[in-house]
């Protein structure tokens, strides 16, 4: 069995780990590095629960071998906020009841974070199209979309009372 040692920067911390090439990034994050925020949902590239940010791209960590991420900067939900200091997206998911069962939330927020980096002022349609790779099986997209739009407004310095862009009831 051939193993290889890879170096990653995960949530601002340099880590080194020895793996088999066939290990998927999601398994290395969860089982070897104890980073359990990214979830294993479908394992078939559909659901997006395993979404992490790699060098500024949203990636489904179940569809990338960890060895391919050698040298990359990876951000997971753990790198966005923590219980004492929530990220604005986490705050707004809480505020708008965007979590529901919570299983898809880490992937949703990690993806939404990248979306807002690329498009800081999205329309509702932009948000829906931008998180289309993340499934919520509680099927409660309404509150997720509201939360992302509210986070965008907050990042842009407006208060939630200025909810002019929010078109959905």
């Amino acid at each position: 069995m051939t193993t290889t040692t890879i170096n990653l920067n995960v949530n601002g911390k340099s880590v080194e780990t020895t793996i088999e090439p066939r290990e998927l990034l999601i398994h290395v994050l969860r089982d070897r590095l104890d980073i359990t925020g990214p979830h294993i949902g479908c394992e078939t590239s559909h659901c997006g629960a395993c979404t992490v940010d790699i060098d500024g791209r949203s990636v489904k960590a179940c569809t990338l071998f960890a060895v391919q991420a050698q040298g990359s900067e990876i951000t997971t939900i753990e790198g966005l906020g923590d219980p004492d200091k929530l990220h604005v997206l986490q705050e707004q998911f809480k505020e708008h009841h965007g979590l529901q069962c919570g299983f898809c939330t880490p992937g949703m927020i990690t993806r939404a974070h990248r979306l807002l980096q690329e498009n800081p002022n999205p329309s509702e349609e932009d948000v829906r199209f931008g998180i289309a790779g993340n499934l919520c099986r509680c099927t409660g997209y309404q509150n997720i979309v509201k939360a992302v739009l509210a986070a965008a407004r907050e990042i842009n310095g407006a208060t939630d009372k200025d909810a002019t862009r929010e078109t959905a009831a």
């Binding site: 394992e43 078939t44 559909h46 997006g48 391919q68 199209f129 289309a132 790779g133």
Partner: protein, 286 residues
């Protein structure tokens, strides 16, 4: 779902990748964006002993537009195609198509080279490349050769690419005029139930059609370039009667099969709808 064991190779030049492939032969597979091969490996429907990952080969990542011809490196991602301003202006049908492939995460990883080389009838780029009359460049142990997209696809997953060749780049002329990529799918991320790529140009008189090209996706074992329908629109212009005749010609050239996207009759119905819509949309944009 853990793939079988393999050795991982990450060459830093296309020449090194071709040499590796030549050395390892049938035991090796080339990996582009990985969104077709990795799922197959997880299911162990593919069990290569060696994986040759092209992701570090910078020479395969480029978009150049020179003298009216677009050259795209095989490892250019859908995300990069979508966000290339000059490409979006010169060949807007690329962006329109790429935005309908997979979902955002898949578009960051999925490449144009993987999409066209895999030979999956469900992929969107092969039909589009036939519509654009693109040329694929292949590099193998015996050197480089070029194959027209319209000659490349032989059957599902069978193409003119030799096992020891790597598809390195794609070229096509810029396409002024109207365009449309219409895709009927069950949900975001799905392959097409039916899709059509259409390019149309208006003649100098503002009425006649000086150029037409129509190609269809996932309605046969290979993409279908609808040559007769394209000629028909050029001969008769674009009007209600010629559109219906062109649509009928397209439907006569496809061979859809029953599957979980629907029975044959439904697929022909969907194909007719999206082709009609694509022609009208493309003409309205001329």
């Amino acid at each position: 779902m853990i793939p079988g064991t393999f050795e991982y190779h990450q060459p830093d030049s296309v020449q090194a990748a071709v040499a590796l492939l030549d050395e390892l032969g049938d035991d090796a597979r080339v990996l582009a964006g990985g969104h077709s091969l990795i799922p197959m490996m997880k299911l162990r429907l593919a069990m290569p002993e060696h994986l040759i990952d092209l992701r570090r080969i910078d020479d395969l990542k480029f978009i150049r537009i020179e003298s009216g011809v677009v050259h795209v490196g095989a490892m250019t991602t859908q995300h990069e195609l979508i966000n290339h301003a000059e490409l979006a202006q010169q060949v807007p049908i690329i962006r329109e198509t790429s935005l309908q492939i997979g979902d955002p995460q898949i578009r960051y990883q999925g490449t144009i080279g993987g999409n066209v080389a895999n030979g999956d009838p469900g992929n969107d780029m092969p039909g589009l490349m036939q519509c654009l009359d693109a040329t694929f460049t292949l590099l193998g142990p015996d050197g480089e050769r070029k194959v027209a997209a319209r000659e490349f696809y032989e059957a599902a997953y069978f193409t003119a690419r030799d096992d020891l060749e790597i598809l390195t780049s794609i070229s096509f002329a810029v396409s002024p005029g109207g365009y449309a990529y219409e895709k009927q799918k069950r949900k975001i991320g799905d392959y097409a139930t039916a899709a059509a790529a259409v390019l149309l140009r208006k003649a100098g008189d503002g009425v006649a059609c000086s150029f037409a090209s129509i190609a269809m996706t996932n309605l046969a074992d290979t993409p279908i370039h609808c040559e007769a329908a394209s000629q028909l629109l050029q001969d008769q212009g674009v009007n209600d009667a010629s559109i219906e005749a062109a649509v009928a010609s397209c439907i006569a050239s496809i061979e859809p099969v029953d599957d979980n996207r629907g029975p044959v009759d439904f697929k022909k119905h969907a194909a007719a709808q999206i082709t009609r819509r694509a022609i009208k949309s493309a003409w309205s944009r001329t």
